[in-house]
Symmetry: C2
Subunit: 223 residues, 2 copies
DNA sequence: GTCTATATTCCGATAGAC
DNA sequence: GTCTATCGGAATATAGAC
């Protein structure tokens, strides 16, 4: 390692700073000047390493996308090896565990990528609208497939709806956006504590998944 | 009515166009040039009527904030007159009904304000961080209070957590952001149909509210 | 690889004629 | 009230020296 010196690579410092700022203030509101200043690098470095601001966003996303998918699918594999018919609760817990482990793996304090993912739902960046389905279609397919098997009292369409609600609730919960803070001066909950969030969230969403069907009469009418 | 002619007032046309564009692309990504062009008015009209872009956002928000609060509190009043102890399901349905009625009152197609509210949670606009608690604190207090009474098996702190999850799930559901579309090429659910969303959503969140406590041992340890 | 300096574009806001 | 023209600033991106 002849050229030691630098503690952290320049490109990594940029990724770290950008990840945090994108989550905190959004993509548009985060200027490259702010990013490079926070990272302690020159303004031109972003273009040198990532080509453009869009390229930087894609790189920020891609860095965590693969490890997260690998963690979750690993949990799901193990679950399906151990049990013939995993419950909805076990499937949800596999997902939550992956999110928390990712937050602990990354040297950063929180579940920053999960928060970034949550923001991406509400304001999808054009760069990702193309690459996300390709990368996550298998994960989504296996997640929903496991839920379908664990919820035999629901039609497949209704499981899709519940997965839709589940994903919204979970990602927003881990995003740490405290809804209550907007409505009351002194909210009780601490939305930033991921362990607490996970503990409170799992019973809520699992009960929602297990609930009776809202659409039992799916195909018995031909209006 | 001496000066007839104009079908819709200029300021109203601006509000309509801005409301839609803010929801679709966010505040920062929506330029005043885009708004005035969509509204078919002059660029300077925004500053003339609303003073600034921030003033316009505030006006967009304020136009729907009061009617929505009035609708929901009306439903809650009626509910508490009719029943001694309204169930969590009834409280949730009062909220959903208010959202849908607001969407039908406004001549626009969808539940645009509810979608705007959902976006506001994820990227809170500075202008609202001050005015929102003042306007909605009573609504939130009464909503949570009704839930606390309807869920006697939960501690007040846990009800606050569930309200946090509930609000996230509901607003995002009505926001019409199709999470599944980001993950799969051809999702089944149509997240833009508010009637369908309401029908699928209510059983999910009500079951989540009714679920057993995750924090039964709240105060029995003094670590 | 890293820096300075700059090109280019777009933004919100305003002045002033009509 | 409505318009044109423009100001001042900030953004991304790049050219070119070192």
């Amino acid at each position: 390692m002849g050229e030691s010196a630098k503690a952290v690579e320049t490109s990594t410092r940029i990724l770290d700073a950008a990840e945090l700022l994108f989550v905190e203030h959004g993509f548009d509101a985060t200027s490259m000047r702010l990013i490079t200043q926070a990272a302690g690098v020159n303004i031109a470095a972003v273009n040198y390493y990532f080509g453009s601001k869009d390229g930087l966003f894609k790189a920020v996303f891609e860095r965590r996308a693969e490890p997260f998918a690998r963690l979750f699918l690993g949990h799901l594999d193990q679950l399906e090896r151990q049990y013939a018919n995993p419950s909805a609760k076990q499937v949800v817990e596999a997902f939550v565990a992956a999110a928390i482990e990712l937050g602990q793996e990354a040297s950063l304090g929180g579940l920053i990528f999960v928060r970034l993912l949550a923001r991406t739902f509400v304001e999808p960046h054009p760069v990702l609208k193309e690459s996300m389905p390709r990368r996550y279609s298998e994960l989504t397919r296996r997640y929903i497939s496991a839920l379908v098997k664990s919820l035999p009292h629901l039609s497949e369409a209704e499981v899709h709806w519940r997965f839709h609600f589940l994903a919204n609730a979970m990602f927003n919960a881990f995003a740490g956006t405290n809804v209550l803070r907007l409505f009351m001066a002194h909210p009780i909950v601490n939305a930033r504590d991921p362990q607490m969030v996970a503990r409170m969230l799992v019973p809520f969403v699992v009960a929602g998944l297990d609930a009776q069907a809202a659409m039992p009469e799916l195909v018995d009418q031909n209006s």
